[in-house]
Symmetry: C2
Subunit: 406 residues, 2 copies
């Protein structure tokens, strides 16, 4: 059961974007599993991809095409990751992109491929090829939620968010979809995310927004500390809106658009955590008072990925000794443990390196029973702060991952 | 159920060592939980301790006393870690050491304190104090297995191993005990280990053996990637045997003693894994062909601590894509993924960055069903190799750690 995550509603169309989904029998259950996103000519497309060395064939190709060509289509299949498939994987990816290009009349280098699913199986290219004509035929601007559904794997709920803002005298829309639930510790991006806006903005400025936004959103979540082979995050601007083109980062319009895109990124990445494999709680870990940003994230991720901290959250057990032990293992050699403070919500649980005098088991238990919990660590040694979002570790996570091959 | 681990037998007494255990009502269940080890005068004692910054009060004190004084007693309590207890924790530790010293007639600085159990609770010093007279009275050379039992927490079986060797014309005995099952990713030592020999050896040489042995044993195991606040490993030489004192590391006798102690360390650390929380499998991960030792351990620990790899082992599912993804995340930037080979037992599963042609699901499944599995990764880029031992991640681990406070 996802933690406080509802089925998406009020999703806005983006001028210049059409989407389509079909069932190509790629996923283990019969459902729509192949998605095409069409971008109007003149769109600016930027992306970030997994740093896993064993990255999937589509990641290698999409990455290259994104920087050298002007993408017009994104083809996404769920059920097969096309990772660990060697040279054949690259050939298969190129083959299906060519088939799309033939059908729609563009160059195959203008098609970006994305895959998610089981690692190491050959991509079923004929199944995909057979499904392409009806996929192309179904393109329509209103299919965002359908697309959010068709890219899912172990996700239990589709994830999509929209926002409308006014830039100067123009109204701009932003819509994003994402999939991800397990194998989540993105390193540059999450499993698969596509966010589009009709804003008129230069590519280099769009890329700046992407990098800033990813850093504080998809790169700040973890379910199980596992960086996937297929993580990709794509930000699209169709430039169809009538706003004056945003060509530098010093304007009010830039700030407003950036903030809105950032908000969408944060909500989408939090949605992954809320729907994390086996999640029963959404945990927000904020580390403040650090000397450097990296030491804040080191502490936050050490806590977030500690199996003992995670299982304590599952049990709603305020086993703060495990949090303290995780902080002690986070690799800051010169940390003065007597300065460290830890709070859950408004309750101080650790100060001066030991249990706070304000702590009572009863107060702590009450907070730990919540399905959404804020943990604050103050290192008291500097002005940096960072935030990370994570889940607990429940029996359901084991059932999902020891149960069948995902 | 521990994986192929039997109740210890044929445990040898060590000339110069006496042990005693009593129930002081410190552990959650009524059982013996307080242990005293007496070392004859002239013993050389060396140790390594956790690097967790939030290390326990007894760790701080034992560490200091070991380097400045000649320890004659080790006092060990199970049930309370005396970690995260601040200044009071240090006072409490010193107090009980003084009480031991008063009873036995030594200096309190000659008593080394050790604790294991729940973090953050005040040490029940009066309960310990009340139990000390009968503890001292019970000292006897034959109590090794009793001691191995009394230091246990979530362990399901006591762990003790002995060995006899001939050095020149003298017969030397070595006996070790260890406790540990969860919170296991020792960083310099494991939870609690005490290994004693009657060999006649200089302290500086004994320390060299300790450091070499720990590196290849207790520092090569992981259950859950969690470094405890209380890890301590103590190596004792009573020097009671008649062998010519080993005073340098160039002799045959040194090599033989070192090898025997190393064997004991390896068996004891493997015993922790075999009795790891929720373990259903014992997994040996060997990484060869590395440029550096550290890159071999990085890859091995990344695989060993991957929740997805661990749950695949629980399911006996040869989900090799997860192994490949873990290798891709281990941080070796210039690794050529096409050179990587992975074998389980004698079956090659990955070569040239993809599934090996010799792989069949049936052969892999047969191996994965074993309760003891060897995984070999060849990076094919150098001459270094390292080995790490780990468990799978089962429902039982969650039950243990989400079930009650340990």
């Amino acid at each position: 059961m996802p933690v406080r995550l509802k089925f998406p509603s009020s999703i806005l169309k983006i001028n210049g974007v059409r989407l389509s989904t079909v069932c190509a029998n790629l996923y283990q259950k019969k459902r729509k599993d192949l998605t095409l996103i069409e971008l109007s000519k003149g769109s600016n497309v930027v992306g970030v991809f997994t740093k896993n060395l064993f990255c999937a064939a589509p990641v290698k190709i999409a990455k290259k095409r994104m920087s050298n060509f002007n993408p017009q289509y994104c083809l996404i299949n769920a059920g097969n990751a096309n990772a660990g498939t060697g040279y054949q994987g690259l050939l298969d990816t190129k083959y299906i992109c060519e088939k799309v290009a033939d059908l729609v009349g563009c160059k195959s280098t203008e098609v970006l491929p994305f895959s998610t699913g089981v690692i190491g199986e050959k991509l079923p290219i004929e199944k995909i090829n057979n499904a392409l004509p009806s996929l192309v035929e179904g393109l329509s601007p209103g299919n965002w939620i359908e697309a959010a559904k068709a890219i899912m794997t172990t996700d239990t709920i589709p994830k999509s968010i929209s926002k409308e803002i006014v830039l100067g005298e123009s109204t701009i829309s932003i819509t994003g979809i994402v999939k991800g639930s397990g194998m989540i510790r993105p390193d540059m991006a999450t499993m698969l995310a596509f966010i589009a806006t009709d804003a008129n903005i230069e590519k280099v400025i769009l890329e700046k927004i992407l990098l800033d936004a990813v850093k504080k959103s998809f790169n700040r979540i973890t379910v199980d500390g596992e960086t996937s082979t297929n993580d990709s995050c794509v930000l699209i601007a169709t430039c169809k809106a009538s706003n004056k083109c945003i060509d530098n980062s010093k304007t009010k319009e830039y700030e407003l658009l950036k903030k809105s895109i950032m908000d969408i990124f944060c909500e989408l990445s939090q949605a992954i955590i809320r729907d994390g494999e086996g999640a029963t709680k959404f945990i927000n870990i904020k580390v403040v008072g650090g000397k450097k940003e990296t030491e804040c994230t080191d502490v936050a991720f050490k806590i977030a990925e500690s199996p003992l901290v995670k299982t304590a959250f599952t049990a709603s057990d305020a086993n703060w000794g495990r949090i303290l032990s995780a902080i002690g293992n986070s690799g800051i050699d010169d940390l003065d443990i007597n300065s460290v403070e830890v709070h859950i919500e408004s309750l101080c649980i650790i100060e001066n390196g030991q249990r706070s005098s304000s702590y009572t088991e009863k107060k702590a238990k009450k907070i730990m029973l919540q399905d959404e919990i804020k943990l604050l660590v103050n290192l008291n040694r500097g002005g940096c702060h960072e935030e990370v979002w994570t889940t607990d570790l429940s029996h359901e996570y084991i059932t999902i991952n020891a149960g069948y091959r995902t």
